[in-house]
Symmetry: C2
Subunit: 532 residues, 2 copies
């Protein structure tokens, strides 16, 4: 049975959505928070309503069969999934729709597409699942310089090509979506175990290009460590790195492309390091009096070398908002897993670390505890969250997240400062208080990756400027206090002003020089990371 | 009390050497191996005997106090510690001595030195401990292009500048030698735990520039993962990366400089991630019938997620040669350590993995087992090895090592092929059989880092060509069979022909473009990694 089409507005495929129960749970939280009975609701335009600018370029006959300028194809590839993306989608603003969307099925077709784009002077936007929340897949072209925009959708390149059971690795095409990738590995008893929140609707190539953060809260936090080798197609030729478990031969070639966000070339396949499927588990939730107490427990665990698969912390308000807690305590969701050995000694020591900082374990523990109780509720809420935005934006609810990382010595002051700046900006932008919560998505021996969520009641017609005011204040403060503008959401076009302050100027100049070698005409994803 | 000077020929300081017992143990092994009673021995020239070319450049008065063109300073900085380095030292060939050696004490002095070198057109050779075995610190200049060579010795910049106990990190100057670095951390209960074989006579900056491999046999194998941020001084300005526990903001700036081997800039300091000093240990040695059986045990451990600190394997011959075994079995040296918790459950599971592949644990286990028995003997032999070369080369013994990495699926065929090619080359070069042994220095879930040692009986006057023939054959085979030309010894000038085959051409072009931005005149360590 053919799958439904991907939505042009919203998360996932047509027909998929939050359930009524989920929606009323979330909306009730907002009603209570803002003292509102009903929302002013606007309906997103249907596909038939959309007016797209006429395409400025058309593919040659040889490429026409894998290209489309159909309204659905162009609309669905216009934006990512950021807050302002939804606002513009709601307003029916598709002025920046790509002119052509191509669906290559192999490297040689990508080479031909790059050649064609070069010959007509069109920008090339690599596209995996389109889940970017940082303006990574939206062209914002200098129209004098670029004569069109070609979006290159890798979705047809989703096969696992080769499996090396001895080394636990697989060669996988970059367009593989999370579920299809895992389904192909499962018969071999293997798993990539990279489960970003976007898992269902994002791709391997997208994860690598954006340094995606995944399932593991410690140790293997980013996709980076799972990359054994890469194939990258650039306008100047093909790059294939050597498949090695480790190497010390010069700066890592892979690391130049990991996080390159489509500006250096198109990642078309990768050998990926895999895991055995877990057979042993231990986990549960631990309550702490507040976020800082939980942070001290997390720090002790992170520095103990125990490497829990899950070790996430929700502040009391975030626990309440997601239904994982009653708002009186911060919650740590803790889990160990292994395909090799029972993990009880690991779990027991981690719980001791928690107790040392006042943590109290929830009653239920054991094999499946991670799917029950606070941990299970949190897990389910986490997976369903992306479906929320298409219901909130039409109601003028401003809700977004931003994430960073900071060393432990600075964490508490950093948290308070960033939270205060964001709260103040919400008041300024909307005229009333909102809410800012914090969780840890990943933790390191030297510091956490705090993930902030904010909620504000906006006003139709002003949502983007209101959102922008809050985003600007939060990001300014993040950078001023020493954090990174992104731990795993990437830079794209939206984070550029802060990324530019964060990264050394001479590094940007070096990256630009490298780009000029690989993409001398500056066609690849212009505006992302650096100016072309 | 002032320390003795570093030797101009040999390892370490004047007065340090192998003991008579150590020397006779090693020489007896060679006598038996080659059926030789006595060696034709040549004495290395004394410092007074050396004839160095007159320096071609002289520093300006402002820099003169931190510069030297003294014979000892120039001779000591002429070579690294590779086999051909010793042969040329033995022959009194110091034609490539640097013209000037500078000892800066701070970044501003480095900036002044770079400016001066630029103004006179001199090449700049960054120098840490000078332990390179790949021609990393020896200029081989195009004399028409470069008007001299300035070696920049970071040895005066060895302080731990700042400690962040909460994040377990320290800001350390790049010229810190291993023992001094650890001595400064010890009062804080912290340790970097990076113990390459060169530990005593190599520096933090050298480790980072060459992607040094250290103490940990699994997980944190290279220095790379311990780097939190860097300061790099380039001819175009200073680069300071942001101190972060993790980030997803574009390609990692740190990773461009880690492994850059002095061609992009001078690493002058780094924030390094540290460990608590271990309080709990478990370890011992395990005997296997042969290397491949041990490899299967190691693979199981590496894929189990147990992360032993030590997990090294010696083939039967290597175990015999170092005194760790009787030659009848391969030996695995296994150790777990923690500053946080008892590690018995980890050790017990690792021993089960060994038993599954026929491994038999040595009787002694427990807290200090890693310093006793086969493990202890191996450890001591490992640390003392660098002192051997200055006694072997004068006796025309050819003994060297090379190291690589390969995925598990290819390991056995790879091992046999590389070993056979090296053995054949020894016969061709010396007219009689030699010996090739293998151990694993580091292991990954997807493959080991095999480390080969070879022994041959050479002839004075022909040592370099004999060595070169063997090195060439071994390296050709390594690359043909899919390995890396180096896992942790670096590329330098000596590994260039094979590195050039291994790394993608477009990556080299990108690196060259980045270098041109940072070092537009191509003065920094010319000939290393890429042509300037």
């Amino acid at each position: 049975m053919a799958e439904a089409r991907l939505k042009h507005f919203g998360w996932g495929r047509e027909g998929e959505a939050m359930t009524e129960d989920e929606e009323s749970f979330v909306l009730n939280r907002y009603r209570q928070r803002f003292g509102i009975d009903r929302f002013e609701e606007r309906a997103p335009p249907t596909l038939q309503d959309l007016k797209l600018p006429a395409p400025r370029i058309a593919p040659p006959a040889s490429l026409a069969p894998i290209c489309s300028s159909d309204t659905h194809d162009r609309a669905r590839h216009t934006y990512g999934k950021s807050y302002p993306d939804y606002v513009r989608g709601l307003a029916g603003d598709y002025a920046v729709a790509p002119d052509v969307v191509a669906y290559p099925g192999r490297d040689s077709e990508i080479v031909a597409l790059l050649d064609w784009a070069g010959s007509v002077g069109a920008a090339i936007i690599p596209f995996g699942g389109g889940s970017s929340v940082v303006g990574g897949v939206e062209h914002r072209l200098d129209r004098a310089r670029y004569r069109g925009a070609l979006t290159l959708d890798l979705g047809r390149m989703g096969r696992v090509l080769e499996i090396d059971r001895a080394s636990r690795a697989a060669r996988i095409e970059a367009g593989a979506f999370g579920p299809a990738l895992e389904a192909q590995l499962k018969p071999h008893g293997l798993t990539l175990r990279h489960f970003p929140q976007s898992f269902e609707y994002s791709t391997l190539g997208g994860w690598i290009a954006t340094r995606s953060g995944g399932h593991f809260a410690t140790l293997y936090t980013h996709i980076d460590d799972f990359v054994e080798s890469l194939v990258v197609v650039t306008p100047q030729g093909r790059i294939e790195t050597r498949r090695l478990p480790g190497s010390g031969a010069g700066p890592s070639p892979d690391r130049l492309f990991i996080g390159s966000e489509g500006i250096l070339g198109i990642i078309t396949e990768a050998w990926m390091r895999l895991q055995d499927r877990p057979r042993f588990r231990a986990g549960g939730a631990v309550r702490f009096k507040d976020l800082f107490a939980a942070a001290r427990g997390v720090r002790m665990i992170a520095q103990a070398g125990l490497f829990p698969a899950n070790c996430r912390v929700l502040d009391a308000q975030e626990a309440l908002n997601t239904g994982a807690g009653d708002g009186s305590a911060a919650i740590m969701v803790l889990a160990f897993e292994s395909g090799d050995h029972p993990v009880e000694p690991w779990m027991q020591r981690a719980l001791e670390c928690c107790r040392d900082h006042g943590g109290i374990a929830e009653a239920e523990e054991g094999a499946d505890a991670h799917r029950e109780g606070a941990a299970g509720i949190w897990r389910n809420a986490f997976i369903r969250m992306p479906y929320g935005r298409e219901r909130m934006v039409p109601r003028a609810i401003i809700s977004d997240t931003f994430e960073t990382a900071i060393t432990w010595d600075r964490f508490e002051a950093f948290h308070d400062s960033v939270k205060a700046a964001t709260e103040a900006a919400i008041r300024e932008a909307t005229g009333r208080p909102g809410q800012v919560t914090c969780r840890f998505t990943h933790v390191y021996p030297d510091g956490p990756a705090p993930y902030f969520t904010f909620h504000a009641m906006g006003r139709h017609g002003h949502l983007i400027e209101q959102w922008q005011h809050i985003k600007q204040a939060a990001s300014d403060r993040l950078i001023a206090e020493g954090g990174t503008i992104t731990h795993h959401h990437a830079v794209g076009r939206d984070h550029r002003p802060w990324y530019d302050r964060q990264r050394p100027e001479l590094f940007a100049a070096s990256l630009k020089a490298a780009k000029h070698v690989l993409d001398p005409r500056g066609l690849l994803n212009p505006g992302v990371l650096i100016d072309p």
